[in-house]
Amino acid sequence: MPYTPPIKSMKYLLHHAVDFDAVLACPDHSDTTADLVGDILDGAGRFASDVLAPTNWAGDQTPAALSGDAVTTSPGFKDAYSAYVEAGWQGLGMAVDHGGMGLPQAVSVATGEMTYAANMAFGLCPMLTASAMKAIAAHASDDLKAKYLPKMVTGEWSGAMNLTEPQAGSDLGPVRTKAVDKGDGTYAISGQKIYITWGEHDCADNIVHLVLARLPDAPEGSKGISLFLCPKYFVGDDGALGERNSLKCIGLEHKLGIHGSPTCTMEFDGATGWLIGEPNRGLACMFTMMNEARLFVGVQGVAIGDRAYQAALGFARERVQGRTLGKQETIIGHPDVRRMLMDMKARLMGARVICMATAVAGDIAASHPHEETRKAAHIREALLTPIAKSYGSDVGISATSTAVQVHGGMGFVEETGAAQHYRDSRIASIYEGTNGIQAIDLLARKIRRDGGAGMMALIEELSQIPALLVMTTAETGVRLGSSRDALEQSLATLREATQIMLDIDEADGLGGASNYLMLCGHIIAGCLLIKGMCNGLLAGDPQAENMQKLVWYHALVVMPEAGAHLNYLRRAGRVLFDYPEIALGDL
């Protein structure tokens, strides 16, 4: 099934719905013009659709295989990876100082979406390499940086994150992998890690493992975890690859989806590692990249949702069944099929704009010349990250499910590929912190810790959109009444819900956190789409008219769903525990 990168949508949102132009105005990005970004998106889109997308099905049908301790990736993956390295895409977001292109994260989000949509299982490898590089760049010694980053930034070496152990997943406190100081500046790492994505494979020449482990005298729990770098092959001072380190893959998981991504059980048997950052500060170092990885998992949701959407659209345009009421002879003329397509499209566009807004906030936080603006953007990025991750992945899962539905019986058989997208998407709400964890993060760290200041600042900003609507109608004559109603209702809902979450006791809050997150997602997405619609209309963008119609649907159907969540939040928690646990069995 071909993939057509939604470059027009991406450009539209970047320039009209989020403040990407403010990112380009930052001195760090003075060389990056809108034209150049357009060329980059075109280039990445072409690579994704021509090189990566054709490998997607093989990845699903022929999963990565383990033989001895060597992993052979799915057919076509090795060549696709070489082409990826050759084309230089790995360095896109990495700082220029480290050999990267230093492009804004918002560009990475757009190119990342295309990569994941083309082949999500494949895309995880570059994603993890990028995250590992960020952690090394931020916390490792200059020696380690000099030794590892240059080959990682080209993609010749990949990165892997070794966090999870059987007893330590969402809560990493119980990590048991041991690190013993060998007295020569290195550590001996021993233990077993599970669920290590792309932990072992045959695409890159070397694999740089970042491993969470515990020093002998470390305090219990999460405050006693340190981060180590363990290469698969040692690297000489001249940069040449040497002996194999004592770490290996001892098993591959058999999974629901993303079969092309090798999910490894890694055994570290006294493997030599180098400390990254301070002892016992491993989790903090890891969180440098976790935030970014979380955003990119949200992007994966949008990506795979859009790929499934495109498949459904293609099918609906070809399949003839029943007499339609409209002009079209295929099932796309059936109102209910049309509804499903519209619904996917609107929700995906909303999730995409949230991911972009998160990336733009990150870019402003990193590059804006004024400290106050940077600080505010940093708070915004932190606030939006759990929403981008959860909302993006949930919207993606629901879109892939609807796409199966559009296919009817053909969706339930593997042949159309719709089933693969459905299975592939399912992981996104689980890894990099489950969506439940994201909701807790949003509630506890992002809302309650600062007394709601970050969210109030966002609401304040969104509250300027009604005036933009009025101006747009005044200047263009386009009537936008339904958007105005939805907007005002939504802003009131977001205010009330946020106040509830600030006032509520902890247990009740936790029972409503996921609902609050979804409420935020629907409303922020809707507001940003409305903003994008207005700016597009004002700029005379030829796509603005279609965007306006999409926003109309979003305002009528998606945004009001926040109201149901608000109803629940008004009684949050109580209703859950009022029902006896015993009765969760038979009534």
């Binding site: 150049l36 357009g38 980059i40 075109d42 360095g91």
Partner: protein, 248 residues
């Protein structure tokens, strides 16, 4: 040797062409446009010649609307050295294009022009040959393989029933066929570098070329749809019906 490659911005080959309601042409509003696929092959060949040291400079030219600059940048990202954009909003005919290219070839003192054998939008397939005639240069069209040595170039041409080998004395015009090479994907670092390369802005007037159309488009229509076939019982019946249709 200086190589000149003309490129055209056309409706993307994946997009289904739709005729405008007034039948005046193909509707190009709001559809994806890309470099003519044959021109991608020309660009690739010129860049390979540069990499091999046979070409000293590779220049890309596009004659078209402001957006044709994007097409030029695509070629620069593949490895062309610099661009020339001749701005016109008219849909120029091959003759006018060939005249402009001739003027550029002379101004640049290029020794080789590598052009696509045709553009996939109007399929004229005329520009390369017209240019060669006007320059009074030898031409090797439908190139399947090219090899340069000294002052000459050997071109294997894709002709009906096989390959024809011709030897051209440089300077010359070569037009590319699909199997000449497989164009590479633009590398990100090269896309970044492309923005630093220059694109000279010109207009047809700069070359004193008369671009008045010689042809008048009467109307453009969709090709007739395929009608249902007939299943015949045997060979005799097949031959009979072919005769009846006047095919044999």
């Amino acid at each position: 040797m200086k190589v000149l490659v003309p490129v055209k911005r056309v409706l993307d080959y994946n997009v289904k062409a739709r005729v405008k309601a007034d039948q005046s042409g193909v509707d190009l509003s709001n559809v994806k446009m890309s470099m003519n696929p044959f021109d991608e092959i020309s660009v690739e060949e010129a860049v390979r010649m540069k990499e091999a040291g046979t070409a000293t400079e590779a220049i890309v030219v596009s004659i078209g609307p402001a957006k044709a600059q994007e097409t030029i940048r695509t070629a620069l990202a593949i490895g062309m050295d610099r661009g020339i954009h001749v701005l016109t909003d008219e849909d120029l005919e091959p003759l006018a294009i060939a005249k402009i290219l001739k003027a550029i070839v002379e101004a640049e003192d290029a020794q080789l022009v590598i052009a696509g054998k045709q553009a996939i939008d109007n399929d004229y397939g005329a520009t390369g040959s017209m240019l060669a005639a006007m320059l009074d240069w030898p031409q090797g069209t439908f190139a399947n393989t090219v090899e340069t040595s000294g002052g000459s170039m050997t071109v294997k041409r894709e002709v009906d029933g096989g390959l024809q080998t011709v030897k051209l004395t440089l300077p010359a015009v070569v037009t590319t066929d699909l199997r000449l090479n497989e164009p590479r994907y633009a590398r990100l670092p090269d896309i970044m570098k492309a923005k630093k390369k220059t694109i000279d802005a010109k207009t047809p007037e700069d070359f004193g070329v008369d671009t008045t159309p010689r042809l008048k488009t009467v109307k453009v229509t969709e090709p007739a749809g395929r009608s249902a076939g007939v299943i015949v019982e045997n060979v005799e019946e097949l031959v009979a019906s072919l005769k009846k249709e006047g095919v044999i």
